[in-house]
Amino acid sequence: MRLCADGISWSVAGKRILAPLSFEVAAGECVVVVGPNGAGKTTLLRLLAGLLAPTTGEARWNGVPYARLGRRRLARHVAYVPQIRPARIPLTVEQLVLLGRFPYLSAWQMRPSAEDRAVAFGALERVGLEGFVGRPLDELSGGERQAVFIAAALAQQTDVLLLDEPTTHLDPKHQQEVARLLLDLSAGDERAVVLTTHDLNLAARLADRVLALSRGDLVVEGPGDEVLVPARLEQVFDVPFEVVVEPPQRYVLPRLQP
């Protein structure tokens, strides 16, 4: 399985948000998209999720253009965990995760099938929230909510998983839990994972490849130890960086300016 972006770009009202960009992600690979605010990271993810139609170029799942797949079939192959979600969602954990089965549900079945339930429960177990089944979503902490949304995406049983800033607003412990889960989902399960983040240490830990965007342009693409170096980072983020390498980990720190 390969996910392929072929010269995709996006403009709105004549303003270019994302310049034509090509790259591929294979099963088992994790690509991390970094860049300053407004660089076009979320736009890129939304194009890959099929939520935006590219102005030029096309996205393909396993060689099939998105337009030909259609929304419902695309949702069986590509799942997306957005960062911005309604503040209040009047559903229980179980209801939300079961709705991950939407691309498989038919209007004629009165309730999700036993298989749907098994998949949904398996997804909850995967994120360690099997005890939360009947809990209202609005009573959960930020970390738990994020895990539930990841579980709902897993219930879609896709081979591509896209996540927009999955660790933002999480405490260090939950950040590490999500990072471990994502490693497991890409390398362990042979899924293609693409995520955006401002946490360059997370990028260093997870990325097989890093895509650095700035003002809608792809500045550099490559393995973490090539992209996450002071010279490149300063070029992308416009502030100096300190990088401490302590194998296997790489710590990326913005240097404080007087």
Partner: protein
């Protein structure tokens, strides 16, 4: 009492209303006489009260089901066919027909009914067209557009009322109050098919409506076609509400109160909420109409006035006693 149990209770309640409401009211019915054909009591029961109760049952269902669909679609607890101008368009059409007053209708349908249906359909089509523009309008834009259309309709209605003569103006005011006064089976036949087909259509889309509760971005990424859901729900609700308002005039608050009341018992998922609204909305309007024709007997209160009188304070009470926010 939650979920399926609550739905069962509603079904029993609905049946009780269906059987009891035609027998109650000002002036006692002699049941034996009513069941024998040819008597005055039989005429009252079968030709006057039963069609009226049936119209209330399908009409209330249409309003509550539409209200639920709009609240979910627009992610706004205040959305209902009335806030969104569909009923306003219907009222404008009716008022125009009353002002002109020459045309007597077509195919057995009175001019006022035809004109108000056309008004609702025009507003519905405008909103659908907005939702289907190339860029597509997001839900917040559509909500505001609906409110703007609603306000424009109210202004035009006032303008026409100011222009018209006294008798017509009075008839307009009376029509705007909304009531189930002169109904027979013919009117039930106009409203029921839309109400039933529309409710079934929305029920078939219950998973998608559930998804919308999790946000449009999540819903779209699960495979829901947002644009299609928006315009098809708008079109279906316009037809359901337009056909009802054409017969009864605007009856407010049912589409607002009933869904909020029922969410407390059956929750927010549409597989339960939509059937509950169909039963509960119908029963609610039938009971309200029973009260409207009883409290001031032998005079009748238009049921639209009664629902509005009860609705405002009831809704406030509901808001203030909740511990959790509504939206």
């Amino acid at each position: 009492m939650k979920g399926n149990g609550a739905l069962g209770v509603l079904a029993v309640l609905w049946l009780a209303v269906l059987f009891a409401a035609p027998l109650l009211g000002p002036g006692r019915l002699d049941l034996d006489a009513a069941l024998a054909s040819g008597s005055i009591d039989a005429t009252i029961l079968w030709q006057m009260r039963l069609p009226r109760v049936l119209l209330a049952l399908v009409g209330g269902a249409a309003l509550a089901v539409s209200g639920t669909a709009f609240q979910t679609l627009f992610r706004n607890p205040l959305a209902e066919p009335y806030t969104l101008g569909v009923a306003g368009g219907a009222a404008l059409g009716a008022v125009l027909a009353l002002h002109i007053g020459e045309w007597s209708g077509f195919g057995g349908l009175p001019a006022v009914a035809l004109a108000s249906f056309a008004g609702a359909a025009a507003v519905g089509a405008t909103l659908v067209a907005l939702a289907r523009t190339e860029r597509g309008a997001d839900s917040a834009t559509l909500l505001l557009a609906g409110i703007a259309i609603s306000l424009s309709c109210s202004a035009l209605i006032l303008f026409i009322q100011y222009q018209t003569d006294f008798t017509r103006s009075f008839r307009m005011v009376r029509w705007m109050m909304g009531g189930l006064v002169v109904v027979g089976y013919r009117e039930v036949g106009w409203v029921a098919p839309w109400a039933l087909a529309g409710s079934l259509f929305l029920f078939a889309r219950r998973w998608g409506l559930d998804l919308l509760l999790a946000g449009e971005e999540v819903a779209a990424s699960r495979g829901l076609d947002l644009d299609r859901v928006r315009w098809s729900v708008l079109a279906v609700v316009s037809l359901m509400v337009g056909s009802l308002v054409a017969v009864t005039g605007p009856i407010g608050f049912v589409g607002l109160i009933v869904p909020h009341m029922l969410r407390r018992f059956v929750g927010h998922t549409h597989g339960l909420l939509l059937p509950a609204c169909f039963l509960g909305g119908g029963a609610f309007l039938a009971v309200a109409d029973l009260a409207a024709r009883t409290v001031m007997a032998p005079a009748e209160l238009p049921v639209g006035v009664l629902t509005a009188l009860m609705g405002g304070p009831f809704f406030l009470w509901l808001l203030l006693r909740r511990r959790t926010p509504l939206a």
